[in-house]
C-alpha cells in the first residue's frame, strides 16, 4: 500500500501533455515530449482535440501516424471533442493535473499583428500554473488556413427565401403607401431596414439577410425613387442614401444573426449545464457503483434517444454487459454480441476509446468509451452509432457525462478505500489495546499456576496435606479463570476487518439461556441463579456468541455481588423483539460509573476481591455482539437495589413444516 501511494505521489509530480495534430512536424514534437517524459519519469499523455473542420485524407493519415507514434513512445492517448481547442486542452490540463505542455512553434506564433490570440496565449491565460514548452518547427509548415468564408453559412431553405421575398414585398408595399401619403424618403428607408432586421431574425444564416439588404436597396432604388421603375435617380443625395442604407442594413443583419448565434450557443450551454447538473444530482444520490452506472446510462439514453450498453469491471475481468434503454429497442440484442463484448473488453484493458468511428474495431456497432479517472478504468460505456452519429455538441455532452460518472466512481472508490483503511486501523488499534491488556492480565494467574506447580514438584513431600490442598485449589481456580478469559478472547479473534462474522440461525431463547446457565453451574455455587423464560421464543442469532453474552452477564453479576445474592435470567417477547434480562439484587452500579460500563477495559473503582479478576472486555464484547445482531444492550437499576442488564434480539418468523 505504501508503494502505491508513493507511486501516485510520483505521478502527481510530473505530467507531460503533448498536443497532437496532423502537421508533419508534429512527430518531432512528440519525440521531444517523450524524451522529456523519460528524463523526468513523468506521466505522458498525448491529446488530440477533434474539431468540426474538415480534414483531407492526407492529413487524416498523418494524424493517425502521429497518434500511433505517440502510443509507441508510451503516451496515453486522449481524444476530446470541441470547437475551442485551447479550452478543451486547458480543461483536460485542470482535470488531470498536467504540469508541462509541449507544443510546436507554429501554434505559438501570432498570425500578423492583429491576428487572434494564439493557442499558447490562450493556454497561458486559462492554465497559468502550467509550463509550456515550445518546440521550434523545423519545417515551418503552415497549414493552409481554410476558414470557411461564411462561417455557418447554409443554403437557405425555401421557407427562408419565402420569408425574405414576402418581407421585401411588404416593405415595398408600405413604401408605396408612404410615398402615396408623401412621407419623406427616410421613413421608407427605415421600413426597409426594419424589414432586413426582421429577415435576419426570422431566417437562418447570413445569406438571407445579406440578400435582403442588397435587394432592399435595389427595390428602393427601382420602385420608390424618381424616376420610378428605373435605377436612375434625379436627386443628388440618393447614391449616398443607397450606400448608407446598404451599410446599415448589412450591419443590422449581421448583428441580428450574431445575436441569434449567441442565443443558440447560450441555449446549448444552458442545456449542457442542465444535463450535467441533473447527472450530478442523480449521481450524488447513487449509493453504489451500479447505481452510478445505471443512472449515467439512463441519462445518456435519454439524451441521445438510443440504447446504451455498459460493462463494469468485476473482481476477475469484465462482467457481462447490461443494456439501458428508455424506450424499447428492437435492435438492442445485437449490441451485446460477442464481437461487441470483445471491443468493450479491449477498451477496458487499454483505457482508450474504440469501436465504430475509430481506428480500433471500426466495424463494431457501438462507439466505446472507457469510464476512467486517475489512471483507473471502472467500466465501459457503449453508444450505438446507428442510425446516426451524435453531433459534436451531443458528443461533448456525452464526454462530460461520462467524465462525471468516472469521477463519481472514483470518489466512491477512494471513499471505500479510506473507510477500509480506517476500519483496519481501528481494529488494529483494538487488537493492540487488547493484547497489551491481556499480556498484563494473564501474567498474574499464570505466575501463580506455574509457581504453585513448581512448589509441588520440588517441595511436595515437605508440605502438609492441608497446604497441598490449598495449592491444588489455587492452581485449579487460576486455570479456570484463565479459561474464562481465553473464551472471551476467542470471540475477539473473530473480529475480522473490524467486524464479527455472524453465523445466524433461528434458536429457541430458553435453550440458549439454559445452556449459558449450565456453563456457570460450578461458579455460581454461592449464588442463587434462577431462569424464567417464556416458551417458544424463536430469535435469529449466532448461538455461540449469544451464549457468551449471557455467560458474561451472569459472570459479571456473580463477580460483583455478595455471596448469597439472587441472579435471575428472564426472557419474554416484546413487540418484534425477544427481550432477555439478567437481574441481580446486589449493590448496583453508581450513576457516575454507568456511562463507562461498556467501555473497553473499564473495571470500575470498587472492584471486588482482587483486581485482576475483573477483565474489562466482557461487557464491551457483549455490547458489540448484541449490536451486531441488531439489538441493544442497556443497563438499568433494579428495585430496591441491584442492576438489570437488558438486551434485545429480533424475533424470527418460522413456518412449521408438518
Amino acid at each position: 500500500m505504501t508503494t502505491q501511494t508513493e507511486q501516485s505521489k510520483k505521478d502527481a509530480d510530473e505530467h507531460i501533455l503533448v498536443c497532437l495534430s496532423s502537421s508533419p512536424s508534429n512527430a518531432r514534437i512528440i519525440h521531444t515530449a517523450a524524451k522529456m517524459a523519460k528524463v523526468l519519469h513523468a506521466r505522458f499523455t498525448a491529446i488530440y482535440v477533434q474539431t468540426d473542420t474538415v480534414i483531407n485524407d492526407e492529413d487524416q493519415s498523418r494524424l493517425s501516424q502521429n497518434i500511433q507514434l505517440a502510443q509507441r513512445l508510451g503516451a496515453e492517448i486522449v481524444m476530446t471533442h470541441g470547437e475551442d481547442v485551447p479550452l478543451q486542452i486547458s480543461e483536460y490540463v485542470k482535470l488531470s493535473d498536467v504540469t508541462k505542455i509541449v507544443i510546436g512553434q507554429s501554434s505559438a506564433r501570432r498570425r500578423g499583428l492583429f491576428g487572434r490570440p494564439t493557442l499558447t496565449e490562450k493556454l497561458i491565460a486559462s492554465a497559468p500554473d502550467v509550463d509550456i514548452h515550445i518546440i521550434p518547427d523545423a519545417l515551418n509548415y503552415t497549414k493552409p488556413h481554410r476558414r470557411r468564408l461564411f462561417l455557418g453559412a447554409e443554403i437557405p431553405s425555401l421557407r427562408d427565401i419565402a420569408i425574405t421575398v414576402l418581407m421585401l414585398a411588404v416593405c415595398t408595399a408600405i413604401g408605396f403607401l408612404f410615398d402615396h401619403l408623401s412621407f419623406p424618403d427616410t421613413n421608407i428607408v427605415m421600413v426597409y431596414i426594419l424589414g432586413v432586421l426582421m429577415i435576419s431574425v426570422l431566417t437562418k444564416g447570413y445569406l438571407c439577410s445579406m440578400a435582403g439588404s442588397l435587394l432592399s436597396v435595389v427595390l428602393f432604388g427601382f420602385f420608390l425613387t424618381k424616376p420610378r421603375l428605373s435605377f436612375q435617380t434625379y436627386a443628388v443625395g440618393y447614391p449616398v442614401t443607397f450606400a448608407v442604407m446598404l451599410a446599415s442594413s448589412v450591419l443590422t443583419g449581421t448583428l441580428a444573426s450574431k445575436l441569434k448565434d449567441h442565443a443558440r450557443l447560450s441555449a446549448r450551454s444552458a442545456f449542457r449545464m442542465q444535463v450535467l447538473f441533473d447527472t450530478d444530482r442523480l449521481l450524488q444520490k447513487a449509493k453504489s457503483n451500479d447505481d452510478v452506472l445505471s443512472m449515467t446510462c439512463m441519462q445518456l439514453s435519454r439524451l441521445l434517444d438510443r440504447s446504451i450498453v455498459a460493462y463494469t469491471k468485476g473482481e476477475n475481468g469484465m462482467l457481462s454487459g447490461r443494456l439501458y434503454a428508455e424506450k424499447k429497442d428492437t435492435h438492442a440484442e445485437k449490441l451485446l454480441s460477442d464481437a461487441e463484448r470483445q471491443t468493450a473488453e479491449w477498451v477496458l484493458q487499454n483505457g482508450r476509446r474504440a469501436g465504430a468511428t475509430t481506428a480500433q474495431f471500426g466495424k463494431a456497432e457501438c462507439f466505446y468509451l472507457a469510464i476512467r479517472a486517475g489512471g483507473r478504468v471502472y467500466g465501459v460505456i457503449g453508444i450505438p452509432m446507428k442510425p446516426e452519429k451524435p453531433d459534436s455538441f451531443e458528443n461533448s455532452i456525452v464526454l462530460s457525462v461520462v467524465n462525471e460518472c468516472a469521477l463519481a466512481m472514483d470518489n466512491a472508490h477512494n471513499a471505500a478505500e479510506k473507510e477500509r483503511a480506517a476500519d483496519l486501523a481501528k481494529s488494529e488499534q483494538l487488537r493492540a489495546d487488547l493484547l497489551r491488556s491481556i499480556s498484563h492480565d494473564l501474567r498474574t494467574p499464570l505466575c501463580s499456576v506455574s509457581g504453585n506447580a513448581d512448589t509441588l514438584l520440588h517441595n511436595g513431600n515437605r508440605l502438609d496435606e492441608a497446604t497441598k490442598q490449598q495449592i491444588y485449589k489455587d492452581i485449579y481456580d487460576d486455570s479456570e479463570w484463565l479459561i474464562g478469559v481465553v473464551e472471551n478472547l476467542l470471540y475477539v479473534t473473530r473480529l475480522n476487518d473490524g467486524r464479527l462474522k455472524l453465523e445466524l440461525t433461528d434458536q429457541l431463547v430458553d435453550e440458549v439461556v439454559n445452556e449459558a446457565v449450565s456453563h456457570l453451574k460450578k461458579k455460581s455455587v454461592g449464588h442463587k441463579v434462577t431462569v424464567r423464560c417464556d416458551d417458544l421464543i424463536l430469535a435469529r442469532m449466532d448461538a455461540q456468541l449469544i451464549v457468551q453474552v449471557i455467560v458474561n452477564l451472569i459472570d459479571n453479576a456473580l463477580k460483583y455481588t455478595e455471596q448469597g445474592s439472587e441472579i435471575c435470567v428472564s426472557a419474554e417477547k416484546q413487540g418484534g423483539n425477544a427481550v432477555i434480562r439478567v437481574t441481580d439484587n446486589g449493590n448496583g452500579i453508581a450513576d457516575d460509573m454507568k456511562p463507562h460500563v461498556f467501555e473497553m477495559f473499564y473495571t470500575g473503582k470498587n472492584t471486588v476481591a482482587d483486581s485482576r479478576r475483573s477483565f474489562g472486555i466482557g461487557l464491551t464484547l457483549c455490547k458489540s455482539i448484541v449490536e451486531l445482531h441488531g439489538g441493544t444492550l442497556t443497563l438499568t437499576d433494579n428495585v430496591p437495589h441491584g442492576c438489570i442488564f437488558t438486551f434485545t434480539l429480533p424475533l424470527s418468523e418460522v413456518t412449521l413444516n408438518e
Binding site: 479459561i483 473464551e487 476467542l490 440461525t505 433461528d506 434458536q507 429457541l508 430458553d510 435453550e511 440458549v512 439454559n514 445452556e515 446457565v517 431462569v531 416458551d535 417458544l536 424463536l538 448461538a543 455461540q544 451464549v547 424470527s652 418460522v654 413456518t655 412449521l656 413444516n657 408438518e658
Partner: protein, 233 residues
C-alpha cells in the same frame, strides 16, 4: 465386569497424560496413539471398545480417521475438539462420531461421557441381534409396533412429527444427532427453515416429556450442534 478398552488418540502430550491418568485412576484399560495413521492401525489390531479422538491431528484430518473406522466397525467414537471449531464437530458427528468433548474439558465431564458411551455399548450388545419392538428408557416406553409412547405408564399425545423425532432419538440413544442428520431423516431436506422447525417441534416434544425444564432428563440440547437422548437408569 471388565472395564472397557479405550484408545486415546491425542498428539498433545500433557492432554494425553491427563486423559491417561484419569483412565488409570478409574480402572479403564487404555491404548494411546499420537497421530491418525497409528490410530487406524491400533483400532484394527486391538479393536478397542471406545475411541477418544482429537480432531486436530498432525498427519491426517480426524474426520478421515472416523471415516476409515466406520468403514468396518461401529465402535463408539468420542471426538475432542476446541470450542471454536463448531463446524469440525458437526462434520465429525455427521461422519459417524457418537459424541464430542470440548476443550478445555473437566475430568468429570470426560468420565461422564465415557459412562454414557458404555451404557450405549451395553444396550447395543443387548439388543444387537433382535430389533426389540418395545423401547424402554427410565419411565419412557415406546411401543414401535403400536406407534405409541408412554411416560409413567400414561400415553403421551404426540403429533406425527414429534413421534417420528422421538423414535429417531430412541434408536440412537446416547448418541448426539446433528440438526442436519435429524432434518434429513424427518423431512428429507435440510433447509434453514427445517432446522428452525426442528427446534420448535423439539421444544414441544420436550415440554410433554420433561416436567422440569431446566434439568432435562431425556433429551439434551447441544446448542449449534444437535440433540441427544440420554440413557436413564
Amino acid at each position: 465386569m471388565n472395564k472397557p478398552l479405550v484408545l486415546v488418540v491425542e498428539d498433545d502430550r500433557p492432554v494425553r497424560n491427563l486423559i491417561v491418568t484419569t483412565l488409570k485412576a478409574n480402572d479403564y484399560r487404555y491404548l494411546t496413539a499420537e497421530n491418525g495413521h497409528s490410530a487406524i492401525i491400533e483400532t484394527t489390531s486391538h479393536n478397542p471398545d471406545i475411541v477418544l479422538l482429537d480432531l486436530g491431528l498432525p498427519d491426517i484430518d480426524g474426520t478421515q480417521v472416523i471415516e476409515s473406522i466406520r468403514s468396518w466397525s461401529n465402535m463408539p467414537i468420542i471426538v475432542i475438539s476446541a470450542r471454536s471449531e463448531d463446524k469440525d464437530k458437526i462434520t465429525a458427528l455427521d461422519a459417524g462420531a457418537d459424541d464430542y468433548l470440548t476443550k478445555p474439558f473437566s475430568v468429570e465431564e470426560l468420565l461422564a461421557r465415557l459412562r454414557v458411551t458404555q451404557r450405549r455399548l451395553l444396550l447395543l450388545q443387548a439388543s444387537g441381534d433382535t430389533d426389540s419392538p418395545v423401547f424402554q428408557n427410565g419411565e419412557l416406553k415406546i411401543d414401535y409396533a403400536a406407534g405409541c409412547a408412554y411416560l409413567n405408564g400414561e400415553e403421551l399425545h404426540l403429533t406425527p412429527i414429534e413421534y417420528k423425532l422421538l423414535c429417531l432419538l430412541s434408536h440412537n440413544v446416547g448418541k448426539v444427532l446433528t440438526h442436519t442428520y435429524i432434518t434429513q431423516q424427518i423431512w428429507g431436506s435440510s433447509w434453514e427453515n427445517d432446522i428452525a422447525s426442528l427446534r420448535v417441534f423439539m421444544a414441544t416434544l420436550r415440554k410433554k416429556l420433561e416436567p422440569q425444564k431446566d434439568s432435562p432428563q431425556y433429551i439434551q440440547t447441544h446448542i449449534g450442534v444437535g440433540y441427544r437422548m440420554l440413557r436413564v437408569d
